[in-house]
């Protein structure tokens, strides 16, 4: 078995036992990247040189007998909307084609403190807006399990490079499903943590109240390992960050014994619109849970049907304000066509720098915040959000976790939905409610469809329920054997 095929946990042990060096590992994953990246195109920037230097540094520390983190020397890819000092951070947008941040995101600082080797910046839908990775100004990313298909989005690059064996771990961000849906499409494990569990400082904002950084890996244990490294209260930099009860301890506390765990199946998530293959696969997973001793029963979450419009109103409203700073004045793209006219500088820089989907969301968000429409849209959406939160809180009185599909279908063909934004938005139906309610959600593979494309399932937990999700995920992973799936390329 080549190094690139191993999980982070396996590699961590090999590094600790000095069976391999961090440089050898880095060389192996970059060799894999060279072999497959032409087909996958999961990266916007590959940072081979700095990664090898970091790896050499880790080897030096280990040789000197320093006590190192379990992640020391492990390669990790970082989504291109997370600021890396001195390394291009483009958000896959022409608007930031040349942007090298003057500072590191908190998560990047944390990874550095764990001596992680950063392999590069992963592709995404521009400014994290999209569900297919097709809205990238760089290039589309291809699903490693079917190269003519999308990897999902917006963190499609992160999911694809993990699925392709280019890297064992990656960071993504999830505003309405942007970690979970690509994890599902690419057959890997992805976790969207509780809102506030991971600092957003340095994550280029799409919708501040919904955005959350989270880990990708090819096993539940690997995801727990990366989660442990990035969680933590960040009061000096992120006001919305919170202290969690599980900080840094989920991997150590993993427990696959889930006897008596109460698992709710919300009937609204299994209705029309969900493909038979997806429904059957997730219901089969429910049966597996029963056989493991869990109590599985149907529940109802009638308000989730409002989650999609609530999501598109709130996220677009916040995006319209968050993306206003890209005006061509201070950094990034500036139009050469404005002459001396300030207004032309703004409008042309923005019209030329932003892609169509981003412009659509900015227009939508500007509209719902406008005087005369605010009450009808934004205010009402916030009220509905409170109701949806209450509904989830009530559900968690009865069950420990909730099991649902992730997306209506498996990965679709590139170009098949780009002409109809509404159809694309509808694909987010199973994931957005988790962001609206600020809850954690774990996605992992539970089967394959007739075309051998991966099917994922979603476990939703209560606020700070990460440990329960990972325990339930591990139990299923062990029972199903669906772990460390690397696409044949």
């Amino acid at each position: 078995m080549a190094l690139f095929e191993k999980t982070a946990a396996e590699l961590s042990k090999m590094l600790a036992d000095k069976e391999i060096s961090a440089v050898e590992l880095a060389q192996d994953v970059f060799a894999r990247t060279k072999a497959v990246e032409d087909k996958v195109q999961g990266y916007v920037t590959v940072a081979e040189e700095s990664a090898l230097a970091q790896a050499a540094e880790v080897d030096k520390k280990r040789a000197a007998g320093e006590t190192l983190s379990a992640l020391a020397g492990i390669p990790v890819a970082v989504k291109d909307n997370i600021c890396t000092k001195g390394t291009l951070t483009t958000c896959a947008s022409k608007m930031l084609y040349n942007f090298k941040p003057p500072y590191n995101a908190t998560v990047v600082e944390k990874l550095a403190a764990h001596d992680v080797v950063m392999t590069g910046k992963a592709n995404m839908d521009e400014f994290a807006m999209g569900s297919s990775c097709e809205n990238s100004a760089a290039h589309p990313t291809h699903n490693p399990h079917g190269l003519n298909r999308v990897p999902g989005g917006s963190s499609g690059g992160s999911a694809a490079v993990v699925a392709a064996g280019e890297v064992p771990l990656a960071l993504g961000s999830d505003t309405g499903g942007s970690i979970r849906q690509p994890a599902s499409f690419c057959g890997v494990v992805g976790l969207k943590p509780t809102y506030g569990a991971v600092s957003r400082y340095g994550l280029i904002a799409f919708a501040s109240s919904l955005d959350q950084i989270g880990p990708f890996g090819r096993s539940v244990e690997d995801v727990a390992m990366l989660l442990d490294a990035i969680t933590g209260h960040d009061p000096m930099h992120d006001s919305t960050s919170v202290k969690t009860p599980f900080e840094g301890s989920t991997r150590a506390n993993l427990n696959a014994d889930i006897k008596g765990m109460k698992i709710g199946l919300p009937k609204e998530y299994f209705g029309a619109g969900i493909s038979d293959a997806v429904r059957e696969s997730v219901l089969a997973a429910a049966e597996t849970y029963k056989s493991l001793g869990a109590e599985v029963f149907e529940i109802s979450l009638p308000l989730v049907e409002y989650a999609l419009p609530v999501y598109y109103i709130l996220s677009s409203a916040e995006a319209s304000s968050n993306l206003a700073r890209f005006d061509g004045v201070k950094y990034g793209y500036r139009t050469p066509n404005a002459g001396d006219d300030l207004i032309a500088l703004y409008t042309k820089s923005r019209s030329e720098g932003f892609g169509a989907e981003v412009q659509r969301r900015i227009m939508l968000g500007t509209y719902v915040l406008s005087s005369g429409y605010y009450d009808a849209y934004y205010k009402k959406a916030r009220a509905a959000q409170r109701k949806i939160r209450e509904e989830f809180a009530n559900a968690f009185e009865k069950c420990d976790v909730i099991l649902t599909p992730v997306a209506p279908t498996t990965a679709y063909e590139i170009g098949s939905k780009t002409t109809n934004p509404l159809e694309m938005y509808a694909g987010d139906i199973c994931t957005v409610s988790v962001n609206i309610a600020g809850l954690p959600g774990l996605v992992q593979p539970c089967g394959f469809d007739a075309d051998k494309m991966p099917i994922g399932m979603q476990l939703i937990g209560p606020r700070f329920g990460e440990q329960k999700l990972l325990d339930a995920g591990l139990a299923f992973e062990q029972a199903s054997g669906l772990k460390n799936i690397i696409a044949a390329l």
């Binding site: 340095g202 006001s239 916040e318 319209s320 700073r325 005006d327 005087s371």
Partner: protein, 474 residues
């Protein structure tokens, strides 16, 4: 027809916190451009704000001092607009739930007590500054960006430029009493926008309002208001109509010009800033803020008039300066207020002016002032000697007695010692004696000679008395 002006103000004051409102950059004025900046205050992608609690403290303090209700649960909102000095393209301000509401400020205009209600006080961040340069064109300095401000919005309760000026002076004095703003007008620490309308005298209805911006001094506010009232009256008298618009005041050309008409009114699309959490002021915190508020200027002014028997001018001069008022009130517990006030208004103020320092920067204390007054009252030193002692009182830690001793200023009141001097002076000044016998008044001359002979330490009253006594013997 006679008209009444209706005036409302929006006053911005920079708070004197050490660091900015949403990052840890310094707020100090005058640094080289773009040196007090970081990813947060330059609006770098991904950077996030964290509220400086001192801002909340200061804003609530101003609210309590102006009779406002403090909203112990409030929030920050985004005000969205594009301008090169605003790096995020939104200003973090407060919209529907400001930190303070419904206050009232009292002040005197020509001896008459007036009041103006405050609609609200909210906190917000300042924008950067555009610097226009012939070589580089326009550049942006973000040093000021993120400096905390409070905006105080009045009800339209003011009716003349004089009232507006006195209101502004009272706001400034209150800010300095609370020690929350350095009140340096030349550095833009306090700025105001003015809303003016006119209506026929006796009418209850409001006329169409015109907003004026770019007013940098209180005297500028007076000129701008007087100009705008006159302009509006002229428009109406000529059968015209006032347009709702924003006009820019030019304090050099002494006129205003249209900046924005009602049609260009911006939609700021306010909404709660999702990067920030609700601001909660606990009861304990409120108690702490309340305990820091001293007796306010208007109350001291009235007390100085009524209890200390001062003139309006004296009471105003003393109550306007917190340190002087504190000095006076502490001294007045032990000596006559008038005596202490006279020293503060004359020689103490003169010293501070000459040296260009503020009272708290010196070593002057109320105890020293009390000692000085008592030594003069007891005749231990003369008033003139008191003036000589004063500089050392500001500059050293010595007691007043020690200074007097060191400078040899103790007054001689012993009649035996002074009699010898008087007799000696009379003996040595035959011409004066001759003049006296010829009916001329020579007392002044002889007192002067005696003072000189006693090196200034002779008690002039005793000398006077003894000269009269000795001359009578001739």
């Amino acid at each position: 027809m006679k008209y009444q002006a209706v005036i409302g103000l929006e006053v911005h004051a920079e708070l004197s916190t050490k660091s900015k409102i949403y990052c840890s950059c310094s707020t100090s004025f005058g640094a080289p451009i773009n040196t007090h900046t970081c990813p947060v205050c330059t609006g770098m992608p991904g950077a996030l704000p964290v509220l400086n609690k001192q801002v909340v403290h200061y804003a609530a303090k101003m609210g309590l001092a102006t009779g406002c209700t403090v909203n112990q649960l409030c929030k920050a909102d985004r005000k969205n607009y594009f301008y090169p000095d605003l790096p995020k393209a939104y200003q973090i301000s407060q919209f529907d739930v400001p930190i303070c509401e419904n206050g009232e400020v009292f002040f005197y205009v020509d001896g008459e007590k007036k009041s103006c209600r405050l609609e609200r006080i909210h906190f917000e961040e300042d924008a950067g500054k555009l610097l226009h340069d012939e070589i580089d064109g326009t550049v942006v300095d973000f040093n000021r960006c993120g400096v905390p401000l409070i905006e105080m919005v009045t009800k339209p309760d003011l009716h003349s430029s004089a009232e507006a000026k006195e209101f502004l002076e009272m706001i400034k004095t209150t800010l300095s009493y609370l020690d929350i703003c350095d009140c340096k007008m030349e550095e833009g620490s306090i700025r105001c926008d003015v809303n003016v309308s006119i209506r026929p005298e006796g009418s209850e209805e409001f006329g169409t309002r015109v907003e004026m911006k770019n007013i940098n001094t209180f005297s500028g506010a007076v000129r701008a208001i007087d100009y705008e009232i006159a302009r509006q009256i002229e428009v109406v008298e000529n059968g015209g109509e006032i347009q709702q618009e924003t006009r820019r005041w030019d304090d050099v050309k002494l006129k205003n010009t249209v900046m924005r008409t009602k049609e260009d009114a911006q939609d700021y699309r306010y909404f709660p800033d999702p990067d920030l959490i609700a601001v909660e002021i606990s009861d304990e915190w409120m108690d702490q803020i309340k305990s820091e508020i001293p007796e306010l200027p208007i109350s001291r002014y009235e007390r100085y008039l009524n209890e200390y028997g001062m003139t309006a001018m004296e009471a105003r001069l003393l109550s306007d300066n917190f340190a002087k008022a504190e000095l006076l009130d502490a001294a007045a517990k032990q000596v006559k207020p008038k005596a202490a006030a006279n020293w503060i208004l004359s020689d103490i103020s003169k010293y501070l002016n000459d040296k260009g320092v503020e009272l708290p920067d010196t070593k002057m204390t109320a105890d020293k002032l009390v000692d000085l007054v008592k030594l003069i009252e007891a005749g231990t030193i003369s008033g003139a000697a008191g003036k000589k002692v004063l500089p050392s009182m500001f500059e050293t830690d010595e007691t007043v007695e020690a200074i007097v001793e060191r400078m040899g200023l103790k007054q001689v009141s012993d009649e035996g010692a002074i009699l010898a001097i008087v007799q000696d002076v009379i003996a040595k000044n035959e011409k004066a004696v001759a003049d006296f016998k010829a009916g001329k008044n020579v007392t002044g001359f002889l007192v002067g000679q005696c003072m000189k002979a006693s090196k200034g330490q002779g008690n002039p009253q005793v000398i006077n008395k003894l000269i009269a006594q000795e001359l009578a013997k001739l």
